[in-house]
């Protein structure tokens, strides 16, 4: 009887320890990191980029230069924040970031800068009223820089 209780106790202890360790590791890797950077901020930034790309496409199709310029400027502003968001290496299980980002930071940041430059060019085109009405080449001119970075530095969906 004693040995059964002992076994149960050990089992319970092990399970609890495992749960605490799992919770802690989940907290430390998935929720927030000691240095304050946060993969969720990166995700939010990426989602915001996508949202603004959609807005940009819609605005170009509608011939709304003011909205197109605003979306392009928002994309450029997010691009400017990217280097800080990726400054510290964090790859929790939910992240699609590839380790290569931190092995090739200069290249990664150059690709981010290309995103900003492409968005600035579109913003200037919107201001000058020269974007035309076909959203694909406009969105594609920025999207090319997204793709060139995703090609190397983003893994498949997890």
């Amino acid at each position: 009887m004693f040995s059964v209780r002992k076994t149960l106790r050990i089992g319970l202890f092990a399970a609890t320890t495992f749960a605490v360790v799992a919770a802690f590791s989940s907290f430390s890797s998935d929720e927030a990191s000691a240095d304050g950077h946060h993969y969720k901020d990166r995700n939010a930034a990426m989602k915001s980029l996508g949202g603004n790309m959609k807005k940009l496409g819609g605005a170009v199709a509608d011939g709304n230069n003011a909205d197109a310029a605003a979306a392009a400027k928002a994309i450029s502003a997010i691009a400017a924040k990217m280097p800080a968001l990726f400054e510290h290496k964090e790859i929790p299980t939910a992240s699609r970031a590839k380790p290569g980002i931190w092995d090739n930071m200069a290249d990664f940041n150059a690709k981010v800068a290309a995103l900003g430059a492409a968005a600035d060019k579109v913003a200037a085109g919107a201001a000058a009223g020269t974007l035309g009405s076909d959203p694909k080449p406009v969105v594609g001119s920025i999207g090319k820089t997204c793709g060139s970075c995703h090609k190397v530095y983003r893994g498949p969906k997890v």
Partner: protein, 287 residues
């Protein structure tokens, strides 16, 4: 009588000439076939490799393959090949010397290409600048290093059936089916394979856990985890510029596929592919 003979001779001459025409491809059209078949992505080495001079490393579970030079260089490329040599290589997976090719080279899909497309493609490849580049051998462990083993593999698994249009479907759907399954060879990455590298066509295009560079490849059927909630035009945008419905942009190996191939397709062909993919039987994701 002499007139009759003269006419008959003329008819024979014209018929012989038209046969000869049918034998040689149209290079201009072949350039477009080349875009549909996606040869350039694998046959050009990364980081500034000469166009089609080979040498790109393809890492797989079976080892590393190094793609061959397909420029018309006579010694290191395919310069000395006849049309028949080319068709046999691309559709049967056998070199002019009788060597067996591994199915990393998607002859398993190209076998369904039309003869016109094959000849036009060859005619185009004959026009690209020849580059002298001897590519190293594949780096494969035993027993995969034995090329002859491919004879058995082909006997068991190589489905040589040609593309058969479905008369109950529209011409647009059939064009899409041809592009996806023959030159486009989409299933080579988007369909799961078994341990022997055989594509599981019961799960066609439903995603693959083990795609190029070990990355998973998504489900492109309308099944769960696939493209069921995509609009027809979403597929076109994705193939044309890499844009996803949520404003995200495709990455991984698909970036090259878009740049080298799908962005170069005509609006009609993109529409055909979207028509075919949206009408696929829904299969839940296997990626």
């Amino acid at each position: 009588m002499q007139n009759l003979i003269r006419i008959l001779l003329a008819v024979v001459a014209v018929s012989a000439a038209s046969n000869a025409m049918a034998q040689s491809g149209n290079a201009e059209r072949g350039k477009y076939v080349f875009a549909t078949a996606g040869c350039g992505t694998c046959h050009t080495a990364e980081k500034g490799g000469a166009f089609l001079a080979g040498g790109r490393e393809l890492k797989t579970d079976f080892g590393s393959f190094f793609t061959p030079n397909i420029t018309p260089d006579k010694e290191t490329g395919i310069g000395g090949w006849s049309d028949e040599d080319f068709a046999r290589a691309v559709q049967k997976g056998v070199s002019p010397d009788g060597d067996q090719y591994y199915p990393t080279f998607p002859y398993t899909s190209y076998v369904r290409m039309t003869q016109t497309d094959i000849l036009d493609l060859k005619a185009y490849l004959d026009t690209v600048p020849p580059v002298r580049n001897a590519v190293r051998d594949h780096d494969l462990p035993f027993p995969f290093s034995i090329r002859l083993s491919m004879i058995g593999w082909k006997l068991l698994f190589f489905d040589k059936s040609p593309f058969e249009p479905d008369p109950t479907k529209s011409a647009v759907w059939n064009r899409g089916a041809y592009l996806v399954n023959a030159p486009g060879h989409c299933g080579e990455c988007h369909t799961p394979r078994n341990l022997l590298g055989v594509v599981n066509n019961n799960l066609a295009l439903s995603g693959n856990k083990n795609g190029p560079e070990g990355d998973s490849v998504p489900n492109i059927t309308p099944g769960e985890g696939g493209i069921g909630d995509w609009e027809h035009d979403d597929i076109i945008s994705a193939l044309e510029i890499g844009l996803l419905p949520d404003g995200d942009f495709l990455g991984g190996a698909m970036t090259d596929v878009i740049e080298d191939n799908t962005s170069k397709l005509t609006a009609e062909d993109l529409n055909a592919i979207a028509t075919y993919l949206t009408a696929l039987e829904p299969i839940a994701s296997n990626d």
